[in-house]
Symmetry: C2
Subunit: 345 residues, 2 copies
């Protein structure tokens, strides 16, 4: 009997089934408790499984769908018109309690809109957020950042809820006691930033349940000054993508330098694995996926052009959240957080 059931949006992502089916097979071979629902075009899925000499497998169930959400499709159109899409079916399975989590590499906006509509938010949560872990100066220590692009703009109250949810994730997923929570701002001083950020700061610091440590700037994202960084989706998305951009730039410049000098070329080969690991960690959503939190169900978003290894990592991220019962723990924290808020008001 399998104890972990996860629904995959097989058709999602830039490369679709070729990648997702490969990842599914890698995952079931590693985790015997895992059962995967493969949502997508039955003939395509069957074809790819046959390439791996699989006709039937006790850990795999095909859920046939007739539609696919395009990567550039408008979220509202996907929500209205793609009720028989692989993305929608995967979310439906979570909503019906048949799957414990859903993993998709599809259109982020559409996934967000569908998940919001199908699964609904947890009590006390107005908007779900996209969260991921970024590396810090300290070895093996991450910092969680949210929202990474699910919501364009966030009012103070939404940022406050993100602070609470981020705190739970840091505590539950990385085992940090009393996680430090900071707001990303354009200066550390209290007078800096927009009114809604100042109001969010007031709300976060008033709540004793949250270990709010103040504003931080972009250059302190990685310095381990905090465990959780809260910002709106526009800013979070730009910051995350900028990280990827800088990492790529530095990697290319280093690579050019290392290939131009004879001795450096030798060292370049020595350096390669360490460099690769470092630059991979600068690109977290491409590697481990990002999670959509605040919903009545677990949804992990893999990068649009994820490799099979990266999509597999996203499946294991989903498994981790199932085992740690993330949504349940967010609900408890929010209840406590809200009680705390009522007390302090």
């Amino acid at each position: 009997m399998n104890s972990l059931t996860i629904a995959l949006d097989v058709m999602g992502g830039d490369k679709g089934p070729h990648i997702t089916i490969n990842a599914a097979i890698l995952a079931i071979n590693k985790e015997p408790r895992l059962h995967l629902f493969l949502c997508g075009d039955k003939s395509i899925i069957t074809k790819y499984l046959l390439e791996h000499h699989i006709r039937e497998h006790p850990q795999l169930t095909i859920i046939p769908t007739t539609e696919t959400v395009a990567m550039d499709e408008k979220p509202s159109s996907a929500l209205r018109n793609k009720r028989d899409s692989s993305m929608r079916k995967a979310l439906d399975l979570v909503e019906q309690g048949k799957a414990q989590a859903c993993v998709s590499a599809g259109n982020t906006g559409a996934l967000f809109a569908m998940a919001y509509c199908v699964l609904k938010t947890l009590p006390g949560v107005e908007r779900p957020a996209l969260i991921s872990a970024l590396p810090t100066h300290k070895e093996n220590k991450n910092v969680f950042m949210l929202d990474l692009g699910a919501n364009v703009f966030c009012e103070a109250n939404i940022l406050y809820q993100f602070g609470l949810m981020g705190s739970v994730i840091a505590e539950q997923v990385d085992g940090i006691t009393k996680p430090r929570v900071a707001l990303l701002n354009m200066g550390e001083e209290d007078i800096k930033g927009s009114d809604h950020i100042k109001l969010a700061a007031t709300k976060l610091s008033a709540n004793k349940y949250i270990n709010y440590v103040g504003f931080i700037e972009g250059n302190d994202i990685f310095t381990n000054k905090t465990d959780v960084i809260v910002c709106d989706g526009f800013v979070g998305n730009v910051a995350l993508k900028t990280c990827e951009g800088v990492a790529q730039l530095v990697y290319r410049k280093l690579d050019r330098f290392l290939s131009e000098h004879f001795f450096a070329r030798i060292i370049g080969k020595m350096l390669a694995p360490a460099l690769k690991k470092l630059f991979k960690s600068m690109n977290p959503d491409q590697y481990n996926g990002a999670s959509l939190i605040g919903l009545r169900g677990i949804v992990v978003k893999s990068h649009g052009n994820a490799s099979a290894k990266a999509f597999e990592a996203a499946i294991f991220e989903a498994i981790k959240e199932v085992e740690q019962q993330v949504p349940e723990k967010i609900t408890i924290a929010l209840e406590q957080g809200l009680i705390e808020e009522t007390h302090t008001e």
Copy 2:
């Protein structure tokens, strides 16, 4: 006879006169046409000059002031109460036509508020913007980004004006014909982002004077897809500081790796100058300063904790803008841009 007169806010910055006076002496020694007004506490300036065995110098004039704007002072308070500050005096000299430009490493918000109030904006410009050049994958090719933090939030019309001003800077400062102008967004598709960004896109693409190329994401800041990147000050500030943060993180991780391995340690020494240059370029406002454009005068902002070398670079940035008559050229472009707009409407 000197043909370049620049006013320095000697008291500004984390390290104050120690750094700024050193930079001033470096600059006059390199550029015989340069005359500097040293605005600040006369006894302190005299003391530092004496350390360099300077009693009087034909290229230096002390402008005594009695007040200093603190680094964490509220802009509104600085504007109201610090009329005899070194920052204010330096700007006054530009306004009076006695200096052609002003350089400060002081409180950015206060400098912005004072410059806005003392110098006023150019005709057709509603808000000045902070602009700087970032490196790209292409050797010796920069990309100009604005606003880097002068304005928290910018409406569509302000972003549109930034696009026009950025285009002029790229053309005049780096000699790029028909500079490509892009808006920083959380996706490349037309449907992405907030309403004011979409409106700014419509305005920019309607103006034939601007070579508008669409939205870009954070990971494309450095890929030479564009010559000018436009965003609001909050987003620009976060992106710029995130660059610094990533560069620091990569530098530290590389440094640790290079010191841990014997052969790598040797190569590390070889790599050091190239690495330093690269990571310096990832930190442009710390190195060359950023310019406040859209004003009736030239104002260059050096980083708060700039070194003497960096403050000197900011002085030379100011000289460059004086020689290229940047404000005059922005005025002409805006007139043309506005005419174009009237035609297309």
